[in-house]
Point group: C2
Chain length 238, copies 2
């Protein structure tokens, strides 16, 4: 089974939701046959690369929250994160454009390092005092190396704005086609969806349903096929 | 969309079928949104690693063909391959166990090099005078390096019979669950199947159907979700 997770590095519920999903996956009997793929979704695609703000400022200006509301929201996220065993800095974080990180996640996918990289990016952004926005490309290189990627190859990807850009856009188009208006958004074998950081039980239900209810394949052309099997390679008489 | 192709390096129809599928994919409007994954299937899993035979001998002993039938079958494959622009040696090839190659293909998948490696293995086995069976591990290392893999990392995988063995077995179990008794076997988004090296038109039909008839996702839990969207991060009142 394949689970696709649309998310953004700047999305705290994605950070928390991933842990809830993983708790369900860990306990799922067929976990070794589940492949997880991360898909790109930008919460703030219109923000210029250099336009960085403290999270609290962004929340008040962009979403019209009062500062007290913004701070209370962050405190609540800290509590929810802690319940999943995750560290969360409720103050001092910043916010910016995540396009380059999504490009790197596609590069990491090619190298079999996508899950490592997204986890390291989340941790740097939400738990550690290592901004993924305000330290420039070299911070991203540092994190990519921790995920097992090559430093120079990472620099090359970052220096070329076209590298993996189509892949990011394709993921975002697919999210829209699947009806995902927000993230995290989980898709199980393109059959079942889970929207948001639902409790682990909901992910367990989705895994179980998607596993159990897979309909039989429809063969497109059931005629004689040129194929090889345990009894040799057949050339059917059409 | 995701297309999974179950095949074996020792399967000539897999070699030909891949080219027919790729012809259809090349002409498919949404080809950039199609991901191809190669899955393991062994035609001859009971054969010991060192048990290598000329293909003609294998065909006569294992499948009870006359030598003339076996040679005619190979000639026919040569004609079918040529029609797809593929070279095919109709004599002098050998046959053996492919388990190690499947393990390497899973290793290559992690490195984003799976399609390169399978193509190189096919070419060595079917088109070139480079046996993938009788030259030992170093031939496989040579081919893996051509596919962009690291020589020492490849040697390490080959030296450890457990490396990626579970992944090969999991693919084979899934093939059985999906009803694939022979290869090549193509699965489109786990919805449509194509069995055998069908003409390109059948693959076009499968791509088009799988693309067009994707049913809408069923949301497992439609209640308020802790999610972030263009309007901020919501904490719904449950």
């Amino acid at each position: 089974m394949r689970v696709e997770i649309w998310s953004d590095i700047a999305c705290p519920w994605c950070y928390v939701g991933k842990a809830r999903f993983e708790k369900a996956l860990e306990a799922f009997a067929h976990r070794d046959e589940v492949e997880v793929v991360h898909r790109s979704f930008e919460l703030d695609p219109g923000r210029a690369k250099g336009d960085i703000q403290p999270v609290i400022t962004m929340l008040t200006r962009k979403y019209g929250m009062s500062e007290a509301q913004a701070r209370a929201g962050e405190e609540n996220l800290g509590v929810q994160a802690a319940a999943e065993g995750l560290a969360y800095r409720t103050s001092g974080r910043d916010h910016g454009n995540t396009f380059d990180m999504h490009r790197l996640l596609h590069f990491a996918k090619e190298q079999g390092r996508q899950d490592e990289l997204i986890q390291i990016l989340y941790r740097a952004n939400f738990a550690e005092e290592r901004s993924v926005f305000s330290e420039g490309d070299e911070r991203l290189v540092e994190l990519a190396v921790e995920a097992g990627l090559d430093a120079d190859a990472t620099r090359k990807v970052l220096a070329d704005p076209a590298a993996y850009a189509d892949e990011v856009r394709a993921d975002e188009r697919e999210a829209a086609e699947l009806g995902a208006g927000g993230v995290p958004f989980f898709v199980f074998d393109r059959t079942y969806g889970v929207s948001g950081a639902q409790p682990a039980e909901v992910f367990t239900q989705a895994l179980t349903q998607a596993w159990g209810e897979r309909p039989p394949l429809q063969l497109v052309e059931d005629g004689g096929a040129e194929a090889c099997g345990p009894d040799g390679c057949a050339v059917p008489q059409h």
